[in-house]
């Protein structure tokens, strides 16, 4: 771990300039102003003696909105800014940058969340919502009035990216980053590249060979001198922070296991998906060899000899039934939950088109087979997908539609008397809601996607996971391939269901973010970390005992020879556990001092 000097010592109290706060209340395009009386908020907060301007505006985050603030800084001597708007996750940085452009220290800013914390949750109570907005905004004023200017923490960034997973998303991310001059270590647990694409022969909708895609990307990986491809590798540790991660892994080689450690500035997760596995008895699965998942069926179709009918263990297959949404769009109380107690309520996006693609391949190879397709909605959304649906109809595939309440049922039979032996029963809403019994020889379950089990990585890195168990991006539109952990990016189906084209695009998008992050060589981080007033520190070490971030706090010697606590700002997460136990108030979080909290609480409870 690199030593980072304490770049964030407490500044001596500078000559106190007059505090001149500008307050700006955002309508958020109605999100706030439909509930909160923003004009009243601006008027009431404007009465605070430190508040020199107080305004409300339709979209503070827009360019004219930002100009409003910048003008007041330049013309009206505003030196502290409060914006009452959306979550700081969305636009705190936006407004800090505006302060910076106007020549003000960007940390003399307070973002008050009155959308998520007021207007969205108190819709029916406009008066008390307005009162709450006033109090929260005044608390923001009190906080920012006590704010010192802060400097961002700058750390050097390793020009190296670790990509975890060498499926197509991971390979694409690796190649893209490498082409921008970054060193890349591509870590793959299995003995080959290509991931799930290796299970497929051709890809929808254009029938491109999956092997061709894997081979081409693999050749790009292997021929790039900046990429170190490590197959048969198992992660052993991930440590550090943005710009300076340490990733350890154990690689199986013919000479035995090799342990390696890589220093990297960024990490791209491309850990992929697994297929939903139906429970025993779910639609007859594992109760009969005639019930297969779509991946199993695709493998089988590779091996059957061509002919009018499909031949399975000497038995002719005349009727095949496909069932959609197995393991997707599940309904609580109807479907059996996963071990974590949750059903898969999401759509897996690819299975409709994948099933139709399989149907066409089946009918191409075995033109005598009749196909029955049982679905809720056919979601052939992508380019060329709808054609597969249209064509299937024209080729005589019969479609049956059921509702979420009336799921299809499989009835298995032993004897066949030469006829299809099983029954696929569906309450078909397209034909008078009657139960239709479809005689079938083979049933194919279009199973959905679930994320690969990466619980080890999730726990080590404290990664955010959504209710659907996929890794959770910061915001689907603002930061779609980033997680809350700085310097960690998402590529492909670890984030959610995607097809091959979409996964490749996500891989490139993740690589561009890594390239932007590392292109300057230095990374700036927010300075909201612990700082020590050494003159007050008694060296009791209580803070060290509370600190959960290895290396963030150490004991050192002060200039006058006393034992005092010292902070490594790059490793400190700013959690405040240390400040909570420090009796003499010697340690505090920059930008979140106890004095500020005291003043905020006073403002919140004042009459």
């Amino acid at each position: 771990m690199s030593e980072i000097p304490n770049e964030n010592p407490v500044h001596g109290t500078p000559e106190k300039e007059e505090v001149r706060v500008g307050v700006y209340v955002c309508h958020c395009g109605g999100n706030i102003s439909d509930v909160v009386d923003v004009q009243k908020v601006a008027e009431e907060v404007g009465k605070h003696p430190d508040v020199k301007v107080s305004k409300h505006y339709m979209f503070m985050c827009s360019d004219p909105g930002q100009q409003l603030i910048m003008e007041d800084i330049r013309r009206n001597g505003i030196n502290r800014v409060v914006v009452s708007a959306c979550s700081p996750f969305l636009h705190e940085t936006t407004f800090r940058k505006a302060l910076q452009r106007a020549g003000l220290n960007p940390y003399l800013y307070e973002h008050v969340n009155v959308r998520e914390q007021v207007s969205w949750v108190h819709k029916g109570k406009p008066e008390s919502a307005t009162e709450k907005t006033i109090r929260l905004t005044l608390a923001g004023v009190e906080k920012v009035a006590r704010q010192d200017p802060l400097e961002a923490i700058r750390v050097e960034a390793e020009q190296h990216v670790v990509v975890i997973g060498a499926g197509i998303a991971g390979m694409r991310a690796a190649v893209s980053a490498a082409r921008r001059g970054l060193r890349v270590t591509l870590i793959e647990k299995s003995d080959r590249t290509g991931g799930r694409l290796n299970e497929l022969s051709t890809l929808y909708p254009d029938n491109e060979s999956a092997q061709t895609v894997v081979d081409e990307l693999t050749a790009m990986v292997q021929s790039d001198q900046n990429i170190d491809l490590c197959l048969n590798s198992r992660l052993t540790m991930i440590d550090g922070y943005v710009g300076n991660f340490t990733v350890g892994f154990e690689m199986q080689s013919p000479e035995g296991p090799v342990t390696r450690q890589i220093r990297a500035g960024a990490i791209i997760l491309a850990t992929g998906y697994r297929h939903y596995e139906p429970f025993e008895g779910e639609l007859g699965y594992r109760q009969s060899p005639d019930v297969l998942t779509l991946p199993e069926f695709n493998r089988l179709l590779e091996t059957t000899p061509p002919g009018e009918l499909m031949n399975l263990n000497g038995r002719p297959i005349r009727h095949v039934g496909f069932v959609h949404c197995v393991g997707s769009r599940q309904v609580e109380g109807v479907h059996q939950p996963q071990p974590d107690g949750k059903v898969n309520d999401y759509c897996s996006r690819v299975c409709c088109t994948a099933a139709l693609h399989a149907i066409h391949r089946l009918m191409d190879k075995h033109p005598g087979v009749r196909v029955f397709d049982v679905y809720r909605d056919i979601r052939t959304y992508g380019r060329g997908h709808e054609d597969l649906y249209e064509e299937a109809s024209k080729r005589g595939v019969l479609f049956f539609r059921h509702t979420e309440e009336n799921q299809p049922v499989v009835r298995l039979n032993e004897s066949s008397n030469g006829r299809p032996r099983h029954t696929l029963a569906v309450q078909d809403v397209l034909t008078w809601n009657e139960e239709v019994e479809i005689p079938v020889d083979l049933i194919v379950l279009a199973t959905g996607m679930m994320p690969n089990d990466i619980s080890g990585i999730i726990q080590t890195m404290k990664l955010p996971v959504g209710a659907d168990r996929f890794l959770q991006e910061v915001h689907p539109k603002l930061r779609p391939v980033e997680v809350a952990n700085n310097g960690v990016f998402l590529a492909g189906t670890c984030q959610g269901p995607m097809d091959a084209i979409e996964a490749v695009a996500a891989g490139e998008a993740a690589a561009v973010k890594a390239s932007i992050l590392l292109s300057k060589g230095m990374i700036e981080m927010d300075p909201f970390v612990a700082r020590v007033r050494e003159e007050k520190c008694t060296g009791c070490e209580l803070c060290l005992a509370e600190c959960e971030y290895r290396g963030a706090l150490t004991m050192a010697e002060s200039a006058d020879g006393r034992k005092v606590a010292r902070v490594n700002p790059a490793l400190c997460a700013g959690c405040g556990a240390c400040a909570a136990v420090c009796e003499p108030r010697a340690i505090e979080i920059a930008g979140w001092s106890l004095d500020q909290f005291d003043a905020m609480v006073d403002a919140l409870v004042a009459h």
Binding site: S176, D345, C347, R383, P480, V512, S515
Partner: protein, 437 residues
């Protein structure tokens, strides 16, 4: 930066300043490349800036778009040309020569301070295309509140040349004699983010051919729902009545070979569900019905969004809408055939109907003779190797993203814009290194 004067060279040209173009330009500029953006409209922001809120998070669309617009407008590595057209893009060796025409705003941009006094002085009212003709604007006007840049455009075809604006302008910026200005730009890479249009309202005569006042487009519905919309609320256009019964007709411009749009437009299910939710928020007692073929809620969080719409009481009816006519009070009457159950075709009256139109390419570079590129049978740009990168085109060094490569929602567009920026950056790195040797 907003460019008021021609630029001769840059690393990359981005055509289109919708959400795709903005994201691609920012992702390139943040890596240190010099980028020129050319946008045909007077403001950057694309279609997205016209929207009310966006699925599935229901964030206000401006909250997502305007910060990117501002970042672009202030980025030291970006030069933005608005109200400008790309006439041609020609490969020259490793690089490209683009011909760009700046259309006359009849405003001297160097003098204009965006004070809007010209707009106040103007006496000519025109339909406001930003509000999709639900509202009015002046013949000289800044396109909308959040527009970047804040320069007005004078509509010379409608102007009376009364001179009112010129007299009102404090900086003498009105220039009735301004001419188009054409210039050449040399770049190392091009990103096409040229977006989409919607299928026209008058495409289907069965649905009234665009002539029924209370059968509106999804754009108009967005504007009715927008906080700064033309009526300040949801009112129907014919008589200003608050609608009690609202219907959406899905696939009104998609999955329909008769329109030449046999494909799925991918976003209409979700935007209709979103609009239905917003409508039920602003009109709690209104009945809202969505007539559909399949609900395609396939993206992350979309199925859950659909389920919550159903839980809110929005009615989803699987039915084909054969015809729409109106009664003497302009109430739309839909002739529908339910596909569930055993019912004969029936007629249903609603107060307001929204046609969920589909997406078609806004710009067909090959047909327009601007740059020779292959398109698919759907007329969107085609990647020769979509699984190596969906942003490739048939011309090396030219990349495409967003709705230019097929209908796409905002999330997928933003991801693909990042991918295009990655491709362009890698291409520039390779060709610039080659040139250095």
């Amino acid at each position: 930066m907003i460019a008021n004067h021609p630029v001769e060279r840059a690393d990359a040209l981005v055509v289109g300043a919708g959400i795709a173009g903005l994201q691609a330009a920012l992702d390139l500029a943040d890596q240190g490349f010099q980028v020129v953006i050319v946008e045909r409209q007077p403001s950057i922001g694309g279609h997205m800036i016209n929207l009310s809120k966006v699925f599935p998070t229901l964030d206000c669309a401006s909250c997502i778009t305007t910060p990117r617009m501002a970042s672009t407008a202030h980025h030291p590595n970006i030069q933005v040309f608005t109200y400008s057209e790309v006439d041609s893009i020609r490969p020259v060796g490793d690089r490209f020569q683009a011909t760009i025409t700046r259309k006359p705003r009849y405003i001297d941009e160097d003098k204009c301070i965006g004070c809007k006094r010209c707009e106040e002085a103007c006496t000519v009212y025109l339909p406001d295309e930003y509000d999709h003709s639900l509202g009015a604007k002046k013949a000289v006007s800044i396109p909308f509140t959040n527009a970047i840049p804040q320069y007005p455009v004078l509509d010379m075809d409608e102007c009376f040349l009364c001179g009112g604006c010129a007299r009102a302008c404090p900086t003498d910026a009105i220039d009735y004699l301004q001419k188009p200005e054409t210039f050449q730009l040399e770049v190392g890479a091009v990103i096409l983010a040229t977006g989409y249009d919607m299928t026209p309202m008058d495409a289907k005569s069965q649905y009234g051919g665009g002539k029924l006042p209370n059968v509106i487009s999804p754009w108009q519905a967005e504007r009715l729902l927008a906080p700064h919309g033309p009526y300040g609320g949801v009112l129907r256009p014919s008589d200003g009545k608050i609608p009690d019964s609202i219907a959406f007709v899905q696939c009104a411009g998609s999955r329909d070979a008769s329109l030449g749009v046999p494909y799925c437009s991918r976003v209409c299910c979700m935007y209709a569900i979103k609009q239905a939710m917003l409508l039920s928020g602003s009109l709690p007692i209104a009945d809202i019905t969505i007539y559909y073929m399949d609900i395609r809620a396939f993206g992350k969080g979309y199925e859950q969004f659909y389920q919550s719409a159903k839980a809110m009481g929005i009615e989803f009816v699987k039915a084909k809408v054969g015809r729409i006519r109106e009664d003497e009070e302009h109430n739309p009457i839909l002739r529908i055939e339910r596909q569930e159950g055993d019912s004969a075709p029936e007629e249903v009256r609603h107060d307001l109907v929204i046609l969920s139109l589909g997406m078609v390419p806004a710009w067909i570079p090959d047909r327009d003779g601007i740059v020779p590129l292959q398109t698919g049978s759907d007329r969107f740009l085609l990647s020769p190797k979509p699984r190596i990168s969906p942003t490739l085109t048939t011309l090396p060094g030219v990349f495409a993203c967003g709705a230019a490569t097929g209908p796409k929602d905002i999330v997928d567009t933003i991801v693909e814009a990042g991918a295009a920026a990655m491709q362009a950056a890698a291409h520039l790195q390779r060709t610039l290194a080659g040139a250095a040797k």
